[in-house]
Subunit: 208 residues, 2 copies
């Protein structure tokens, strides 16, 4: 590893590996497992994180902030805010399924851990208010619903759907998830805004 | 402890205590904690359970089966099946909030543990089909919806709502939970069937 590395950047790189390790193996994974997965000695990891708890908290916060940042980016790229929030929070592909396995692993711990629970509450409050704003935006002048309550109902649907999909990925195709969320939007007087993600097109020159 | 105790009954009594301990402290709690909480020596617990894993699996199964049995009983007592399922699965009081903390603790482990995940899948399949039947029953001849898909959407709502309520009990009063579920039922063409649980009446002879 080069001698002059930015401390924050390196901390972030270690947490990125921890995210993968925890998503794959759960919170039972230790500093040594993260070091091995990153191709480092354990002392590299302990140089950037005081202990496992420090690494866990930083990793959870990083994942939550990453999800929030992706929503902002997608909105900038011309997506409606509502579609961006919904798509980022559904386990539609392997990246998002991994993110959900990580969240669920943290929930199991956070339900008895005040500090981790505080991170979850911040995630809930932020997404709930973003959803309420996005719903109000989508309804425009024609608001016939209670945005705050409907944001809660929609957010609960997303979390619950992700939990069930995490345990039964074969039972929850992207098609099915998109259909259920579009049904829900129809009940809120909104036209379907989610589309099933298309597989990548074949490479140029392919004859298949 | 009396010499002649029924083995299955005693196993069940130990698991009942384990249920409380796990709900309060999470899966980090050990056989010794369960023994202490039950007022037994650790050897009593290890007499009925091979190891912690045996106790965890039995306790999870017992909780899931207990919830299913309560639904059947309430239906027998004149409740509609749909109302019974919904009420049993909402964290409306401290008993049900504790049950949810237990489920969430197990989810965090099960997402990386094939055996525990299999118990979760059985819970999902059983409740999903019970909900689909109950919805079809509630609609009667006037079925305008896809019962299987709407059962998934409703079940996801219940799970998601319970997760959020577990982290923010103060944000999710029984009133709010009942309102959101009744809104959801209205979207399915069903009249509100949930009622906010009333506090117990004052004792006879009370002047307050």
């Amino acid at each position: 590893m080069p001698k002059r590395v930015d401390h924050a950047e390196r901390r972030d790189a270690v947490a990125a590996v921890a995210e993968q390790v925890i998503a794959d193996r759960g919170l039972g994974a230790g500093l040594r497992d993260v070091a091995l997965a990153g191709g480092w000695s354990t002392s590299v990891v302990t140089h950037y994180f005081t202990d496992k708890r420090d690494l866990l908290e930083f990793t959870l916060r990083r994942t939550i902030e990453g999800a929030a940042a992706r929503i902002e980016t997608q909105v900038g790229a011309g997506r409606t805010r509502l579609a961006a929030i919904l798509e980022e929070n559904l386990p539609l592909d392997s990246r998002r399924r991994r993110q959900w396995r990580l969240f669920i692993a943290f929930w199991g711990r956070a339900v008895h851990d005040p500090t981790l629970a505080a991170h979850q509450r911040r995630r809930h409050a932020a997404f709930r208010s973003a959803l309420a704003e996005a719903l109000a935006e989508a309804w425009g002048a024609d608001v016939r619903h209670d945005a705050e309550r409907e944001a809660r109902r929609l957010f609960a649907l997303l979390d619950g759907l992700a939990v069930q999909a995490a345990f039964e990925p074969g039972e929850w195709s992207a098609d099915l998830q998109v259909d259920l969320v579009n049904r829900h939007l129809a009940g809120l007087g909104l036209s379907p805004i989610l589309e099933v993600p298309r597989p990548a097109p074949p490479a140029l020159g392919s004859h298949s």
